[in-house]
């Protein structure tokens, strides 16, 4: 889609030039040359060539904070995604984090490989090849290897999910052949690889006989819920986020949590919060396991700030500033534990924490907290 078509699709000509987007943007605060308002304006003024070759195109976190507040409801993240597709077509690309290792894994999966990545799941509990409920693990097995050096055991999230599902009497399908959901490829402007990955997943899940797919990763959840139907139509299975599932299990009496001691605050992931609009179930769960120990950060729910980098691209000193500020905000609530709800938020915030030695704060995923609180 060229720039003109993107303008028409997202009706960016309704822009009032008010600057609310730039004023709301976490990147603009740390990188003063970056301005969503200016990007919208440049596109309208037909300065597309300049726009597409600008590094700033890849600095946007696609976090949706601007979109949330824009008075004319211009979907800036989606507009940005379209501009990126156009930029990639012209041979421009973002600076990939971690030597592009994660994108390479995704490209391998898109081409087709015989993966072997579920040993941990069999050790964690009972899983099946076919069944009603499919647990979509996402890229955690790969994260577990790559981010071990910063002390993040990514698969602890997956192990907790299996333990919790098993305790509630559910034996989920976990598959070696599951591919990345395609989220990062899509937001990095590469819809072709996204489509290959998505097609593989849809076929795999349909073949497993599952009626319900449970996600602990917000990106996977949102991508399946929002973008898969856009590209592939009716999926033929239900897409459920794990926290909604847990909340239901608690309501049904299938799961009991003990209220633990400790002080917690919660970081809303962009995909879970502003995009998928899931704010309540994680808070209900935190309320039932932490009671009075749960405190909100100043910027929460719709106003939450992103964890500083997305799609394994353009991680910069600006990202680090955003993360450090978020960590200080979390600690300022008095909480000792910053609870995350996305494997990537956990990695990025833990990464920033490694250079904040004086900070007396622990980062923990909500799934782990739930499994530790099970009675």
């Amino acid at each position: 889609m060229n720039i003109g078509e993107s303008i028409n699709l997202y009706k960016t000509y309704y822009c009032l030039d008010c600057g609310v987007c730039t004023g709301s943007c976490p990147v603009s605060r740390v990188l003063p040359t970056f301005s969503p308002r200016l990007i919208v304006e440049k596109a309208l003024l037909q300065m597309g060539d300049e726009l597409l070759s600008d590094r700033d195109l890849w600095s946007c976190l696609t976090c949706g904070r601007c979109y949330q507040r824009c008075p004319t409801k211009i979907d800036f993240p989606e507009f940005m995604r379209n501009l990126r597709e156009e930029a990639i077509k012209r041979g421009l690309a973002p600076a990939l984090a971690h030597h592009g290792m994660l994108q390479s894994v995704m490209e391998f999966q898109a081409e087709g490989v015989r993966q072997k990545k579920t040993d941990w799941a069999r050790e964690a509990g009972k899983i099946a090849d076919r069944g009603e409920v499919f647990y979509f693990v996402g890229c955690m097995p790969y994260f577990d290897v790559i981010f071990r050096d910063i002390g993040v055991d990514s698969l602890s999230i997956g192990r907790s999910v299996i333990k919790i599902l098993n305790a509630a009497g559910v034996t989920p399908v976990v598959s070696d052949q599951e591919a990345c959901c395609g989220h990062d490829m899509l937001w990095n402007g590469n819809p072709e690889t996204f489509k290959k990955l998505a097609a593989k997943n849809i076929e795999l899940i349909r073949g497993s006989g599952a009626k319900k797919v449970v996600f602990s990763c917000p990106e996977g959840y949102y991508t399946f819920q929002h973008h898969y139907p856009q590209y592939f139509g009716e999926l033929g299975f239900e897409v459920v986020h794990f926290f909604d599932y847990v909340q239901q299990m608690i309501a049904d009496g299938a799961l009991k949590l003990s209220d633990g001691a400790g002080t917690y605050t919660f970081h809303d992931p962009c995909r879970l919060g502003r995009m998928a609009k899931i704010y309540d179930s994680p808070r209900a769960i935190l309320g039932s396991l932490a009671g009075e120990g749960f405190r909100e950060m100043e910027r929460n729910r719709e106003n939450a700030v992103c964890c500083g980098t997305t799609g394994w691209a353009n991680c910069s000193s600006g990202s680090k500033q955003i993360q450090a500020e978020r960590i200080r905000e979390a600690r300022a609530t008095g909480a000792r534990t910053l609870v995350t709800a996305c494997p990537k938020c956990r990695i990025h915030l833990s990464c920033a924490l490694t250079s904040m030695e004086e900070m007396d704060l622990e980062v923990k995923d909500l799934t782990t907290l739930i499994s530790e609180s099970m009675r």
Binding site: M101, V105, F108, Q109, E111, G112, V113, R114, Q115, K116, K117, P141, Y142, V145, I146, D176, Q177, K200, L204
Partner: protein, 55 residues
């Protein structure tokens, strides 16, 4: 780093033997030839990888 990539290859189902890192100085021609020859033999023994053929 190389060990990390090997672990990623295990997950991807690509034989870890397909990756080799050796440092050879420009003065060690014979050693270079030996390493490349033995690596080539190893790859031939392993045959076609699952890349592009599997689901």
């Amino acid at each position: 780093m190389i060990e990390m990539v090997r672990e990623l290859m295990d997950l991807l189902g690509i034989d870890r033997g397909r990756l080799e890192l050796q440092w050879v100085s420009s003065a060690e021609g014979a050693r270079f030839a030996e390493i490349v020859t033995s690596f080539t033999h190893r790859i031939m023994e392993l045959g076609k990888s699952s890349l592009g053929v599997a689901a």
